[in-house]
Structures are given as structure tokens and as C-alpha cells.
């Protein structure tokens, strides 16, 4: 990306004197530099709206939250400096460690299942000769549905009175009758994650399918002539061929797992008794409902730091592998 931008800045500099020199000879030199200064001002002016709205909404508040993290700010009255109190409090806050654990589980599942099943499904899709368009459309639609609707669909299906359990009960299968997927301490988190996986997995499948289609068919053919078999083709040709897209999809899932808000918020509200609580919910509760904004920014900065480190590690590993 950065490389092409250098190319594009270099291009006008190289072509300009040529064009100008051809059209109007000597006296154009001072005029052009004035024009250049003007064009730099125009460029800045073009960039201004985007950067202004960004600084107002994201950049400014993000930087100010570092300052607020050392205060007892409640969001409204002027904050008082309290040093590292908030940071110390976080380390001994059981709720913080509990959401960190839940987010870690969330992240791991959201990376492993959609990536592996997505690759598998995409590989199968690329092998069939008819109907892949229809399959892709069906797989992609769950990702398209908005989160409130996805959550509602699954709440219906998982409810013992109105969903799958009730349907099974009417044909005599009763072992699901007393299973409260969203109300049980053990099942709440896996269920929330499962619903999220359901809505996410089709996206990885369709995304990986598009990637596999860009792999050079000659490579696949060569592998087939070598008689590597289906698994050999999958492991030695397809996976290496789309590695950048796999890394992208994994980073995408990591971020989604760390920052997840919608599914737990709608399905369980973090309950029962914090069993499916996640960092985003805790931060909103602490700072906006509980008015402990100073402490909330500490939790938020920690989450930011963790996601920064994770993205950094993924980028580092990828660069290292490329070299």
C-alpha cells in the first residue's frame, strides 16, 4: 500500500516538467512552484473534513481517555487526579478478570471454528461444478442479517417453550426440555459464542472461496498430475496460495472476539451472574451507567492495549514469514 502511494507521488513530479516544458518554455518555472504551493493547500483542504470529523469523534476522545484514566472523573464534574488508583483497582477487580477470561474463550472459538470450517467449506465449494452461486448466497445471508434479528431468531429456537426443544417434545424426544441455553451458568457463554459463529462462518466461507478462485489453476493442475490427492492439494497448494487472506480473516476474528458487544448484550446481557459478561459490556456499565468514567477508561485502555499487542504480533509474524 505504502509502496504504491510513493509511486503515485513520484508520477506527477516526473511527468510535470515534461508536459510543461513542451507546452510553454522558460518562464513557467516560478509560476509552477506557486501553483504547486496552491495545490498543496487545496489538497489539505480536501483532506480537512475527513480528518476534522475523525479527530472530533475518535482521535480526540481516544487521546483524552489516557488523561482521564488517572482521575476520578464521573463524566460530568471536573476530574481530580488520583494517580494510579484506577489501574491498581483493575488488577484486583474480579469482574475484570472474569470478562478477560470470557473474552479469551470467545476469541479462541471465533478464530478456530470459522477459520477451519470456512476453509473446508470454501474448498468444497471450489470443487463442485454446479450450484456454487446458490450455496454462496445461502451461506452469506446469516452474516447479512442484523445482530438484533439474529439474536431474536436463536432466542426463539433455543427457548424450551417455543423452539427446537418444543418441537422435539411433540415427537417424544424430551431430553432438551429443561435445558435453558441462555439461562444456565454453564451454557450461556458457549451459546452466545455459538450464535455468533453461526452468523460469521458463512462470511469466511465466501471470502475464502473468492480467495481460492485466485489461486493459479496451473499450480492445482500440476499438483493433480503429481498425484498428491485431495488433502495434498488442500494443504500444499490451496492453503499456501491464500495465506494472506487467512491471516486477514484471523485478525478480523481476533478483533471481533476482543471487542464483541452485540450478541452478549442482546442474548444474555452478560448473565446469568456474569457468566457471559464481556469487556465491552463491563466498560459501558461501569462508565456510562455507573458513572465511573475514570475507571471505565482504564478498562477501555487495557482492552485497546491488548488488541494493539495482538494485531502487532500477527503483523510481526506475517512480516517475518514473508522475509
Amino acid at each position: 500500500m505504502i509502496d504504491t502511494s510513493y509511486a503515485s507521488t513520484a508520477a506527477p513530479a516526473a511527468s510535470d516538467p515534461h508536459v510543461a516544458g513542451r507546452r510553454r518554455p522558460p518562464k513557467s518555472r516560478p509560476r509552477r512552484s506557486r501553483l504547486q504551493r496552491k495545490s498543496r493547500r487545496v489538497a489539505l483542504l480536501f483532506f480537512l473534513p475527513a480528518i476534522a470529523v475523525n479527530l472530533l469523534v475518535i482521535g480526540g476522545p481516544a487521546v483524552s481517555s489516557i488523561g482521564y484514566s488517572f482521575t476520578d472523573w464521573n463524566g460530568i464534574s471536573p476530574p481530580n487526579f488520583v494517580g494510579l488508583d484506577n489501574w491498581q483497582r483493575m488488577l484486583t477487580d474480579a469482574a475484570f478478570w472474569s470478562v478477560m477470561r470470557n473474552n479469551a474463550i470467545y476469541l479462541v472459538v471465533l478464530v478456530i471454528i470459522p477459520t477451519s470450517l470456512g476453509l473446508f467449506g470454501a474448498f468444497l465449494l471450489a470443487r463442485i461444478r454446479r450450484g456454487s452461486t446458490v450455496f454462496r448466497a445461502i451461506f452469506f445471508i446469516p452474516f447479512l442479517l442484523i445482530s438484533v434479528v439474529v439474536a431474536q431468531i436463536w432466542r426463539n429456537l433455543l427457548s424450551p417453550d417455543t423452539g427446537i426443544a418444543a418441537a422435539l417434545d411433540s415427537i417424544g424426544i424430551t431430553w432438551l426440555n429443561d435445558v435453558y441455553f441462555l439461562g444456565s451458568q454453564e451454557l450461556a457463554l458457549p451459546t452466545v459464542i455459538g450464535v455468533h459463529v453461526w452468523s460469521f462462518i458463512g462470511f469466511t466461507m465466501v471470502f475464502f472461496y473468492a480467495a481460492i478462485k485466485t489461486v493459479d489453476p496451473a499450480l492445482i493442475e500440476a499438483a493433480r498430475l503429481d498425484g498428491v490427492g485431495v488433502w495434498g492439494e488442500f494443504w500444499h497448494v490451496v492453503i499456501p496460495g491464500i495465506r494472506p487472506m487467512i491471516v486477514f480473516s484471523i485478525s478480523f476474528a481476533v478483533i471481533a472476539g476482543l471487542l464483541v458487544y452485540d450478541m452478549p448484550r442482546i442474548l444474555t446481557g452478560g448473565g446469568p451472574a456474569g457468566a457471559s459478561d464481556v469487556a465491552a459490556l463491563l466498560i459501558n456499565r461501569t462508565s456510562i451507567v455507573g458513572r465511573e468514567a475514570g475507571y471505565g477508561t482504564v478498562l477501555a485502555l487495557t482492552l485497546t492495549l491488548i488488541s494493539g499487542v495482538v494485531i502487532g504480533v500477527i503483523t510481526y509474524l506475517r512480516r517475518k514469514e514473508e522475509n
Binding site: S5, S8, T9, A11, S39, R40, V42, F46, F47, P49, A50, I51, V53, N54, V57, G59, A62, S64, S65, Y68, I76, L124, R127, S132, T133, R136, I138, F140, I141, F143, L144, I146, V148, Q152, I153, N156, D161, T162, G163, A167, F200, G202, F207, A210, K213, T214, E221, G229, V230, F248, L258, L259, D262, R265, A279, I283, N284, S287, L303, I311
Partner: protein, 292 residues
């Protein structure tokens, strides 16, 4: 893209049938059909249940309706306040898309085709902003919005959505703009057009596919967004469709049929739009990485 590569694939297959291809494809189909059932079954049940009476739901929880109740849609629309929610969301989506187009279009143009000072610094800023989690700014932003009187206003939410979507849109549009030949705008400039005329009459029409993708992704994100909507808008008259539906579904737990009918009303426009513009959706969502 998909059709041409498919053609290529088929030709290759015809010239040299893959080893054991005809033996393995049925297994691939069986597994794919299983996946498709898992993906489609819950959505099909939603459509079924939207057409049942409450009484039928109790005895027939997931099967097709015996006597479709088309009136459920009108009743859900009425009782759920769906009309008001969709209107608010339409306003939000419209201005968010327009605002993102303007901000991101101009910025991408400056990055790709003008002599922008501090170019790499601006670009780095955009990359950092994209990977910054919502949580890192939502708390100070909320209290800033309280101070500015923007909480509980549609314009307050629209400004936030524009800011959230602009960075990815700039980077996406930039790739389109970089590929347009320089000669085109130089010719226009020599004809006496100013920068704004060059941008709006020569360049932006050529980046229409990119703008369309941005519009779809941003529109979809604004349509279903929950976290900011639920935090920044509390006035019932201003709730967008996501929170309107959330309140309806959590407040009326006995009316599963009407809740499903409301779900159908909300998602049918999305599904139709998707079926018409599949390719743009997939490409765009892959490039944004914003929806989780």
C-alpha cells in the same frame, strides 16, 4: 470475476478430468447441503413463525404455518413502532452514506491524486484509527456529546457513523483513484477546470464502483448498528430500527409471531438488495472488516 474464473475452471476440468472427481463431488455436495441447511433453517423458521397465530406457535413451533396470517405484518408494524424506527434509520443511513462519500471521497482524492503534504503521516493515522477499538473512545465521546447537546439527536449519531466509516472508505476509494490515468485530469486542468470541477466531473464518476461498494457497506453498518445506537439515543421517538426492534422483542415476549413478523420486515430489504448486488457486498465487507 466469478463467472470468468468458473469458466476457466470448467474448461480445465473438461480437458483433464480431475482424478476421482466424479467419485468425490457427491460427498462435497452432501456436506455443502448440510452446511446450507444449518445456515438456512433458522431463517426459514423465522419466515414460518411470522405467519402463525400465537396458538399455532405453541403446538407447531418450527414447522410451516397451516393457515398463513398475512395480517401479522400489519399488526407487528403497528405494535412495534416499526414505521417510525425505519424512518429514523432511513434518515441515519441516507446522511451517513452521503457524509461518508463526501468526507472519504475528498480525502481519498487528496491522497491519491494531489500533492498532499504529510501524506504518509495521514495514511498512518487512518490505519491506526481503523484498528482502534470502539472502547478506546466511547466513554469520553459520550460525555463530550452530552456537553455538546448531541446525545439523543439523529445528527449526533450520524456524525459518529461518518467518523467510524470514513477511514476504511478513504483507503478503499484511494485504490480506485490511483488507477485512473493522470492524463485525464491533466487534460481537464489544461482546459481550465479547477480542482473541484476535476474531482466532481472527471474523477468521481470513474470511481463509481468504489463509491457503490462504500455505500453498501456503510449503509448496512448503519442499518444494523447497535452499540452506539443503544448508548446515544434514548428518546423513543428517535430510536433507529435496531433498538426499536430490541425494545419490542424484549418487552413483548409473548408475541413471538409478531416479533418474527417484525424481523422479516427488517431483513427482507437487506436480502433483496444482497441478491441483486452479491459481488459488491462480499468485496466491500471483506475490505472493510468493520462488521463483527
Amino acid at each position: 470475476m466469478s463467472t470468468s474464473s468458473q469458466l476457466r475452471f470448467q474448461k480445465a476440468g473438461a480437458a483433464d478430468p480431475r482424478p476421482g472427481g466424479s467419485g468425490r463431488t457427491p460427498i462435497a455436495y452432501i456436506i455443502l447441503v448440510l452446511f446450507a441447511i444449518v445456515a438456512a433453517f433458522p431463517i426459514v423458521v423465522m419466515f414460518f413463525n411470522a405467519l402463525k397465530t400465537s396458538a399455532e406457535l405453541a403446538t407447531n413451533p418450527i414447522g410451516p404455518p397451516t393457515n398463513p396470517q398475512w395480517g401479522n405484518f400489519a399488526e407487528a408494524w403497528e405494535r412495534g413502532g416499526i414505521g417510525q424506527g425505519l424512518l429514523n434509520t432511513a434518515i441515519i443511513v441516507f446522511f451517513t452514506v452521503i457524509g461518508t462519500w463526501i468526507c472519504a471521497g475528498l480525502a481519498a482524492y487528496a491522497l491519491a491524486r494531489l500533492d498532499l503534504p504529510f501524506k504518509s503521516a495521514f495514511q498512518t493515522y487512518l490505519f491506526v484509527i481503523i484498528s482502534l477499538p470502539v472502547q478506546s473512545f466511547i466513554v469520553p465521546l459520550f460525555f463530550l456529546w452530552v456537553k455538546l447537546g448531541l446525545v439523543n439527536t439523529l445528527q449526533g449519531l450520524i456524525i459518529i457513523y461518518i467518523a467510524l466509516n470514513t477511514p476504511f472508505a478513504v483507503l478503499l476509494l484511494r485504490t480506485f483513484l490511483v488507477n485512473i490515468p493522470k492524463e485525464l485530469d491533466e487534460a481537464a486542468r489544461l482546459d481550465g477546470a479547477n480542482e473541484l470541477q476535476v474531482a466532481s466531473r472527471v474523477i468521481l464518476p470513474l470511481t463509481w464502483p468504489g463509491l457503490l461498494t462504500v455505500g453498501l457497506v456503510v449503509g448496512l453498518a448503519a442499518y444494523g448498528e447497535l452499540q452506539f445506537a443503544v448508548t446515544f439515543i434514548l428518546d423513543p421517538a428517535l430510536l433507529p430500527i435496531s433498538t426499536t426492534f430490541l425494545n419490542f422483542s424484549q418487552g413483548q415476549t409473548q408475541l413471538f409471531n409478531l416479533i418474527n413478523a417484525a424481523s422479516v420486515i427488517i431483513v427482507v430489504p437487506l436480502i433483496i438488495l444482497f441478491l441483486f448486488m452479491q459481488r459488491q457486498f462480499v468485496a466491500g465487507l471483506a475490505s472493510s472488516g468493520t462488521k463483527g
